[in-house]
Protein backbone atom coordinates (compact mmCIF):
# COMPACT_ATOMS: atom_id res chain seq x y z
CA UNK A 1 0.00 0.00 0.00
CA UNK A 2 1.11 3.48 -0.76
CA UNK A 3 -0.42 6.68 0.57
CA UNK A 4 -0.22 9.79 -1.57
CA UNK A 5 -0.28 12.96 0.51
CA UNK A 6 -0.48 15.09 -2.65
CA UNK A 7 -3.73 13.44 -3.72
CA UNK A 8 -7.05 15.20 -3.40
CA UNK A 9 -8.51 11.92 -2.13
CA UNK A 10 -8.51 11.97 1.70
CA UNK A 11 -6.11 9.51 3.30
CA UNK A 12 -8.85 7.44 4.94
CA UNK A 13 -10.48 6.94 1.53
CA UNK A 14 -7.15 6.01 -0.03
CA UNK A 15 -6.78 3.32 2.63
CA UNK A 16 -10.32 2.08 1.95
CA UNK A 17 -9.72 2.10 -1.82
CA UNK A 18 -6.46 0.21 -1.54
CA UNK A 19 -7.98 -2.44 0.70
CA UNK A 20 -10.76 -2.79 -1.88
CA UNK A 21 -8.13 -3.09 -4.59
CA UNK A 22 -6.42 -5.90 -2.66
CA UNK A 23 -9.74 -7.67 -2.20
CA UNK A 24 -10.53 -7.26 -5.92
CA UNK A 25 -7.19 -8.76 -6.94
CA UNK A 26 -7.71 -11.66 -4.53
CA UNK A 27 -4.96 -10.84 -2.03
CA UNK A 28 -7.58 -11.01 0.72
CA UNK A 29 -10.13 -13.63 -0.38
CA UNK A 30 -13.68 -13.55 0.99
CA UNK A 31 -14.00 -14.73 4.60
CA UNK A 32 -10.31 -14.18 5.33
CA UNK A 33 -8.86 -11.63 7.69
CA UNK A 34 -7.65 -8.21 6.53
CA UNK A 35 -4.74 -6.48 8.32
CA UNK A 36 -5.52 -4.93 11.70
CA UNK A 37 -5.70 -1.21 12.36
CA UNK A 38 -2.50 -1.52 14.38
CA UNK A 39 -0.68 -3.23 11.54
CA UNK A 40 -1.80 -0.70 8.92
CA UNK A 41 -1.20 2.27 11.19
CA UNK A 42 2.39 1.39 12.02
CA UNK A 43 3.11 -0.02 8.57
CA UNK A 44 1.87 3.05 6.70
CA UNK A 45 2.75 5.48 9.52
CA UNK A 46 -0.76 6.85 9.55
CA UNK A 47 -2.73 7.90 12.63
CA UNK A 48 -4.92 4.97 13.79
CA UNK A 49 -8.00 7.23 13.83
CA UNK A 50 -7.54 7.76 10.09
CA UNK A 51 -7.04 4.04 9.42
CA UNK A 52 -10.12 3.22 11.48
CA UNK A 53 -12.16 5.73 9.51
CA UNK A 54 -11.16 3.97 6.30
CA UNK A 55 -12.01 0.55 7.78
CA UNK A 56 -15.37 1.80 9.04
CA UNK A 57 -16.17 3.04 5.55
CA UNK A 58 -15.68 -0.52 4.25
CA UNK A 59 -17.80 -1.91 7.10
CA UNK A 60 -20.59 0.55 6.22
CA UNK A 61 -20.34 -0.53 2.55
CA UNK A 62 -20.60 -4.19 3.55
CA UNK A 63 -17.14 -5.02 2.18
CA UNK A 64 -15.66 -6.16 5.49
CA UNK A 65 -17.18 -7.07 8.84
CA UNK A 66 -15.99 -7.29 12.40
CA UNK A 67 -15.57 -10.57 14.25
CA UNK A 68 -15.55 -9.55 17.87
CA UNK A 69 -12.20 -10.13 19.52
CA UNK A 70 -10.64 -11.49 16.33
CA UNK A 71 -10.49 -8.72 13.73
CA UNK A 72 -11.91 -7.62 10.40
CA UNK A 73 -12.90 -10.14 7.72
CA UNK A 74 -13.83 -9.85 4.05
CA UNK A 75 -17.58 -10.29 3.57
CA UNK A 76 -18.98 -12.91 1.24
CA UNK A 77 -19.89 -11.16 -2.00
CA UNK A 78 -17.42 -8.32 -1.37
CA UNK A 79 -15.63 -8.85 -4.67
CA UNK A 80 -18.83 -8.53 -6.67
CA UNK A 81 -19.85 -5.41 -4.79
CA UNK A 82 -16.50 -3.75 -5.39
CA UNK A 83 -16.52 -4.65 -9.09
CA UNK A 84 -20.03 -3.28 -9.48
CA UNK A 85 -19.08 -0.02 -7.75
CA UNK A 86 -15.97 0.35 -9.90
CA UNK A 87 -17.97 -0.26 -13.09
CA UNK A 88 -20.40 2.51 -12.25
CA UNK A 89 -17.50 4.88 -11.55
CA UNK A 90 -15.67 3.95 -14.74
CA UNK A 91 -17.28 6.67 -16.88
CA UNK A 92 -16.44 9.46 -14.41
CA UNK A 93 -12.99 8.21 -13.44
CA UNK A 94 -11.67 7.09 -16.82
CA UNK A 95 -13.83 8.08 -19.77
CA UNK A 96 -14.35 11.75 -18.90
CA UNK A 97 -10.67 12.48 -18.10
CA UNK A 98 -9.70 10.59 -21.28
CA UNK A 99 -12.01 12.78 -23.39
CA UNK A 100 -10.79 15.94 -21.69
CA UNK A 101 -7.14 15.14 -22.35
CA UNK A 102 -7.89 14.08 -25.93
CA UNK A 103 -9.64 17.41 -26.51
CA UNK A 104 -6.73 19.31 -25.01
CA UNK A 105 -4.32 17.54 -27.37
CA UNK A 106 -6.58 17.89 -30.41
CA UNK A 107 -7.26 14.17 -30.83
CA UNK A 108 -10.49 13.60 -32.76
CA UNK A 109 -13.25 11.18 -31.77
CA UNK A 110 -12.34 9.00 -34.78
CA UNK A 111 -8.66 8.86 -33.79
CA UNK A 112 -9.66 8.02 -30.24
CA UNK A 113 -11.90 5.22 -31.43
CA UNK A 114 -9.08 3.86 -33.61
CA UNK A 115 -6.75 3.91 -30.61
CA UNK A 116 -9.24 1.94 -28.54
CA UNK A 117 -9.46 -0.68 -31.31
CA UNK A 118 -5.68 -0.82 -31.55
CA UNK A 119 -5.43 -1.25 -27.78
CA UNK A 120 -7.88 -4.13 -27.90
CA UNK A 121 -6.51 -5.99 -30.91
CA UNK A 122 -2.88 -4.96 -30.65
CA UNK A 123 -2.97 -3.62 -34.25
Amino acid sequence: MNINFQSEIPIYLQIARQLEESILTGIYPEETQVPSTTELSTGLQINPATVLKGMNQLVADGIIYKKRGVGMFVSTGAMGKIRQARQSEFYDNYVLPLLKEAQRLGITAQELSDMLKKGETGK
Binding site: F5, S7, P10
Partner: protein, 284 residues
Protein backbone atom coordinates in the same frame (compact mmCIF):
# COMPACT_ATOMS: atom_id res chain seq x y z
CA UNK B 1 -10.33 15.27 30.23
CA UNK B 2 -7.91 17.76 28.75
CA UNK B 3 -5.27 20.37 29.32
CA UNK B 4 -6.67 23.83 28.95
CA UNK B 5 -4.66 26.98 28.84
CA UNK B 6 -6.20 30.40 28.66
CA UNK B 7 -4.60 33.69 27.70
CA UNK B 8 -1.16 32.27 28.28
CA UNK B 9 1.62 34.80 27.87
CA UNK B 10 5.34 34.58 28.44
CA UNK B 11 7.51 37.64 28.09
CA UNK B 12 11.27 37.65 28.01
CA UNK B 13 12.01 41.33 28.58
CA UNK B 14 9.96 43.20 26.00
CA UNK B 15 9.51 40.18 23.73
CA UNK B 16 6.39 38.04 24.06
CA UNK B 17 7.61 34.54 23.18
CA UNK B 18 4.06 33.29 23.73
CA UNK B 19 1.39 35.91 23.32
CA UNK B 20 -2.13 35.43 24.70
CA UNK B 21 -2.39 31.77 23.68
CA UNK B 22 -5.53 29.79 24.47
CA UNK B 23 -5.67 26.14 23.51
CA UNK B 24 -7.23 22.88 24.62
CA UNK B 25 -5.27 19.66 24.36
CA UNK B 26 -7.67 16.77 24.32
CA UNK B 27 -6.77 13.43 25.78
CA UNK B 28 -5.54 10.58 23.61
CA UNK B 29 -4.73 12.61 20.53
CA UNK B 30 -1.52 13.17 18.57
CA UNK B 31 -0.94 16.84 17.87
CA UNK B 32 1.60 18.47 15.62
CA UNK B 33 2.90 21.81 16.86
CA UNK B 34 4.16 23.71 13.85
CA UNK B 35 5.99 27.02 13.82
CA UNK B 36 8.98 28.67 12.18
CA UNK B 37 12.25 29.02 14.08
CA UNK B 38 11.69 31.29 17.07
CA UNK B 39 7.89 31.14 16.74
CA UNK B 40 7.49 30.12 20.39
CA UNK B 41 7.04 26.32 20.14
CA UNK B 42 9.56 25.40 22.82
CA UNK B 43 8.35 28.16 25.14
CA UNK B 44 4.75 26.99 24.76
CA UNK B 45 5.76 23.40 25.54
CA UNK B 46 7.86 24.58 28.48
CA UNK B 47 4.87 26.46 29.86
CA UNK B 48 2.55 23.49 29.41
CA UNK B 49 4.92 21.27 31.36
CA UNK B 50 5.59 23.80 34.11
CA UNK B 51 9.24 24.18 33.21
CA UNK B 52 8.71 27.85 32.43
CA UNK B 53 6.55 30.10 34.57
CA UNK B 54 4.01 32.16 32.61
CA UNK B 55 3.89 35.94 32.81
CA UNK B 56 0.11 35.70 32.63
CA UNK B 57 -2.61 33.15 31.99
CA UNK B 58 -3.95 29.94 33.50
CA UNK B 59 -3.33 26.28 32.83
CA UNK B 60 -5.44 23.41 34.09
CA UNK B 61 -5.43 19.67 33.66
CA UNK B 62 -8.88 18.11 34.03
CA UNK B 63 -9.93 21.34 35.73
CA UNK B 64 -7.16 21.27 38.36
CA UNK B 65 -4.11 23.54 38.36
CA UNK B 66 -1.44 22.06 36.12
CA UNK B 67 1.28 22.93 38.60
CA UNK B 68 -0.14 20.47 41.15
CA UNK B 69 -0.10 17.68 38.57
CA UNK B 70 3.32 17.92 36.93
CA UNK B 71 3.85 14.16 37.00
CA UNK B 72 1.05 13.82 34.42
CA UNK B 73 3.00 15.80 31.83
CA UNK B 74 6.39 15.00 30.33
CA UNK B 75 8.55 17.01 27.99
CA UNK B 76 11.43 15.82 25.87
CA UNK B 77 13.63 18.61 24.60
CA UNK B 78 17.08 19.17 23.22
CA UNK B 79 18.45 20.53 26.46
CA UNK B 80 19.10 17.65 28.86
CA UNK B 81 16.68 17.24 31.73
CA UNK B 82 18.99 14.77 33.43
CA UNK B 83 22.47 14.72 34.85
CA UNK B 84 24.20 13.16 31.87
CA UNK B 85 27.03 11.71 33.94
CA UNK B 86 24.69 8.79 34.72
CA UNK B 87 24.15 5.59 32.82
CA UNK B 88 21.18 5.45 30.46
CA UNK B 89 19.63 2.49 32.28
CA UNK B 90 19.73 4.40 35.58
CA UNK B 91 17.99 7.34 33.92
CA UNK B 92 15.26 4.94 32.73
CA UNK B 93 14.80 3.63 36.28
CA UNK B 94 14.65 7.05 37.92
CA UNK B 95 12.18 8.42 35.39
CA UNK B 96 9.95 5.46 36.21
CA UNK B 97 10.25 6.09 39.92
CA UNK B 98 9.40 9.77 39.61
CA UNK B 99 6.50 9.36 37.19
CA UNK B 100 5.19 6.19 38.79
CA UNK B 101 5.57 4.02 35.73
CA UNK B 102 7.89 3.11 32.87
CA UNK B 103 7.44 0.61 30.05
CA UNK B 104 10.72 -1.29 30.50
CA UNK B 105 9.71 -3.90 27.92
CA UNK B 106 9.26 -1.31 25.19
CA UNK B 107 12.42 0.49 26.32
CA UNK B 108 14.44 -2.71 26.00
CA UNK B 109 13.02 -3.44 22.57
CA UNK B 110 13.71 0.11 21.35
CA UNK B 111 17.28 -0.03 22.70
CA UNK B 112 17.78 -3.16 20.61
CA UNK B 113 16.20 -1.62 17.52
CA UNK B 114 18.21 1.58 17.85
CA UNK B 115 21.26 -0.37 18.97
CA UNK B 116 21.68 1.77 22.09
CA UNK B 117 23.94 0.50 24.88
CA UNK B 118 22.17 1.38 28.16
CA UNK B 119 25.32 0.71 30.18
CA UNK B 120 26.88 3.81 28.66
CA UNK B 121 26.79 7.16 30.36
CA UNK B 122 24.46 9.61 28.63
CA UNK B 123 27.28 12.12 28.27
CA UNK B 124 29.39 9.56 26.37
CA UNK B 125 26.78 9.12 23.62
CA UNK B 126 26.95 10.79 20.22
CA UNK B 127 24.52 13.63 19.42
CA UNK B 128 22.18 11.27 17.58
CA UNK B 129 22.14 8.75 20.41
CA UNK B 130 21.59 11.46 23.03
CA UNK B 131 18.40 12.25 21.12
CA UNK B 132 17.55 8.54 20.97
CA UNK B 133 17.84 7.86 24.71
CA UNK B 134 15.61 10.86 25.39
CA UNK B 135 13.06 9.67 22.84
CA UNK B 136 12.98 6.23 24.45
CA UNK B 137 12.31 7.78 27.86
CA UNK B 138 9.53 9.95 26.41
CA UNK B 139 7.83 6.99 24.72
CA UNK B 140 8.10 4.72 27.77
CA UNK B 141 7.31 7.09 30.65
CA UNK B 142 3.86 6.75 32.16
CA UNK B 143 2.50 10.29 31.74
CA UNK B 144 -0.79 11.35 30.16
CA UNK B 145 0.56 14.23 28.10
CA UNK B 146 3.89 13.83 26.34
CA UNK B 147 5.52 16.82 24.68
CA UNK B 148 8.22 16.07 22.14
CA UNK B 149 10.19 19.14 21.13
CA UNK B 150 12.02 18.42 17.88
CA UNK B 151 12.28 14.71 18.65
CA UNK B 152 14.01 13.71 15.42
CA UNK B 153 16.68 16.40 15.39
CA UNK B 154 19.91 14.93 14.11
CA UNK B 155 18.45 11.45 13.53
CA UNK B 156 19.01 9.56 10.30
CA UNK B 157 16.08 8.40 8.14
CA UNK B 158 16.20 4.83 9.44
CA UNK B 159 16.12 5.90 13.07
CA UNK B 160 13.33 8.38 12.37
CA UNK B 161 11.23 5.58 10.95
CA UNK B 162 11.80 3.42 14.04
CA UNK B 163 10.67 6.39 16.13
CA UNK B 164 7.48 7.09 14.13
CA UNK B 165 6.49 3.41 14.28
CA UNK B 166 7.21 3.19 18.01
CA UNK B 167 5.22 6.36 18.64
CA UNK B 168 2.16 4.90 16.89
CA UNK B 169 2.58 1.53 18.57
CA UNK B 170 2.78 2.86 22.11
CA UNK B 171 -0.02 5.32 21.33
CA UNK B 172 -2.30 2.45 20.31
CA UNK B 173 -1.24 0.18 23.16
CA UNK B 174 -1.77 2.88 25.78
CA UNK B 175 -3.58 5.88 24.27
CA UNK B 176 -2.36 9.24 25.60
CA UNK B 177 -1.75 12.69 24.25
CA UNK B 178 1.39 13.46 22.27
CA UNK B 179 2.35 16.93 21.12
CA UNK B 180 5.14 16.79 18.55
CA UNK B 181 6.99 19.81 17.23
CA UNK B 182 9.01 19.28 14.08
CA UNK B 183 10.21 20.95 10.93
CA UNK B 184 9.90 17.68 9.00
CA UNK B 185 6.22 18.30 8.35
CA UNK B 186 5.81 15.87 5.47
CA UNK B 187 7.05 13.01 7.63
CA UNK B 188 4.43 13.57 10.33
CA UNK B 189 1.53 14.73 8.14
CA UNK B 190 -0.16 11.32 8.35
CA UNK B 191 0.69 10.64 11.97
CA UNK B 192 -0.75 13.75 13.59
CA UNK B 193 -4.49 14.09 13.96
CA UNK B 194 -4.69 17.79 14.84
CA UNK B 195 -2.32 20.60 14.07
CA UNK B 196 -1.51 23.67 16.16
CA UNK B 197 0.18 26.47 14.25
CA UNK B 198 2.09 29.13 16.15
CA UNK B 199 3.57 32.22 14.56
CA UNK B 200 5.43 35.01 16.34
CA UNK B 201 4.10 33.81 19.69
CA UNK B 202 0.47 33.79 18.58
CA UNK B 203 -1.63 30.72 17.87
CA UNK B 204 -2.89 30.90 14.30
CA UNK B 205 -4.85 27.72 13.99
CA UNK B 206 -5.87 24.61 15.89
CA UNK B 207 -7.60 22.23 13.54
CA UNK B 208 -7.67 18.64 12.43
CA UNK B 209 -5.23 18.02 9.59
CA UNK B 210 -8.06 16.75 7.42
CA UNK B 211 -10.23 19.84 7.93
CA UNK B 212 -7.28 22.14 7.45
CA UNK B 213 -6.31 20.54 4.15
CA UNK B 214 -9.90 20.67 2.96
CA UNK B 215 -10.36 24.29 3.99
CA UNK B 216 -8.89 25.47 0.71
CA UNK B 217 -7.03 24.65 -2.48
CA UNK B 218 -4.12 25.69 -4.67
CA UNK B 219 -4.57 27.36 -8.01
CA UNK B 220 -1.75 27.43 -10.56
CA UNK B 221 -1.27 29.26 -13.84
CA UNK B 222 0.11 32.39 -15.53
CA UNK B 223 0.71 35.22 -13.03
CA UNK B 224 -1.90 37.58 -14.53
CA UNK B 225 -4.56 34.89 -14.77
CA UNK B 226 -3.99 33.77 -11.18
CA UNK B 227 -4.04 37.38 -9.94
CA UNK B 228 -7.29 37.96 -11.81
CA UNK B 229 -8.86 34.90 -10.29
CA UNK B 230 -7.60 35.71 -6.77
CA UNK B 231 -9.06 39.22 -6.76
CA UNK B 232 -12.19 38.27 -4.85
CA UNK B 233 -10.82 35.21 -3.08
CA UNK B 234 -9.45 34.75 0.40
CA UNK B 235 -5.73 34.35 -0.20
CA UNK B 236 -3.52 32.39 2.22
CA UNK B 237 -0.28 32.91 0.34
CA UNK B 238 1.52 32.25 -2.94
CA UNK B 239 4.76 31.52 -4.68
CA UNK B 240 6.05 32.22 -8.18
CA UNK B 241 8.40 29.92 -10.06
CA UNK B 242 9.42 30.73 -13.62
CA UNK B 243 6.44 32.97 -14.37
CA UNK B 244 3.98 30.44 -12.99
CA UNK B 245 2.12 31.44 -9.87
CA UNK B 246 0.62 29.09 -7.32
CA UNK B 247 -1.76 30.64 -4.83
CA UNK B 248 -3.33 28.94 -1.83
CA UNK B 249 -6.91 30.01 -1.33
CA UNK B 250 -9.51 29.43 1.35
CA UNK B 251 -12.87 28.01 0.35
CA UNK B 252 -14.08 25.80 -2.50
CA UNK B 253 -12.89 26.15 -6.08
CA UNK B 254 -15.75 27.37 -8.25
CA UNK B 255 -15.95 28.64 -11.83
CA UNK B 256 -12.25 28.12 -12.44
CA UNK B 257 -11.39 29.55 -15.86
CA UNK B 258 -9.57 27.49 -18.49
CA UNK B 259 -5.81 27.56 -18.16
CA UNK B 260 -5.83 27.44 -14.36
CA UNK B 261 -5.23 24.19 -12.52
CA UNK B 262 -6.69 23.30 -9.13
CA UNK B 263 -4.68 21.07 -6.80
CA UNK B 264 -5.18 20.12 -3.14
CA UNK B 265 -3.34 21.83 -0.30
CA UNK B 266 -0.51 20.00 1.35
CA UNK B 267 0.40 20.59 4.96
CA UNK B 268 3.96 21.74 4.44
CA UNK B 269 3.21 24.30 1.70
CA UNK B 270 0.13 25.51 3.55
CA UNK B 271 2.16 25.99 6.71
CA UNK B 272 4.87 27.93 4.88
CA UNK B 273 2.33 30.18 3.20
CA UNK B 274 0.48 30.80 6.45
CA UNK B 275 3.62 31.84 8.29
CA UNK B 276 5.31 33.80 5.54
CA UNK B 277 5.37 37.51 6.19
CA UNK B 278 4.90 38.85 2.71
CA UNK B 279 2.79 41.91 2.03
CA UNK B 280 -0.86 40.93 1.87
CA UNK B 281 -0.28 37.24 2.46
CA UNK B 282 -0.68 37.18 6.21
CA UNK B 283 -3.21 34.59 7.27
CA UNK B 284 -5.63 36.09 9.75
Amino acid sequence: MSIQCEHLTKRFGSVAAVDDASVTLEREKIYGLLGRNGAGKSTLMGLLTDRIRPTAGTMTIDGKPLRDNVSRVYMMSEEPLYPESYKVRDLFRWTGEFYGGFDHVLAQRLCNEFNLDTKKKAAALSTGYRTIYKIIIALCVDADYIFLDEPVLGMDAGHREIFYKALLETYMARPRTFVVSTHLIEEVAGIIEDVIIIDQGKLLQTESVENLLHSGYNITGAIDAVDDYCRDQELIGYDIIGGIKTASILGKAENVPNGLTVTPLDLQKLFIRMTEHKEGTRYE
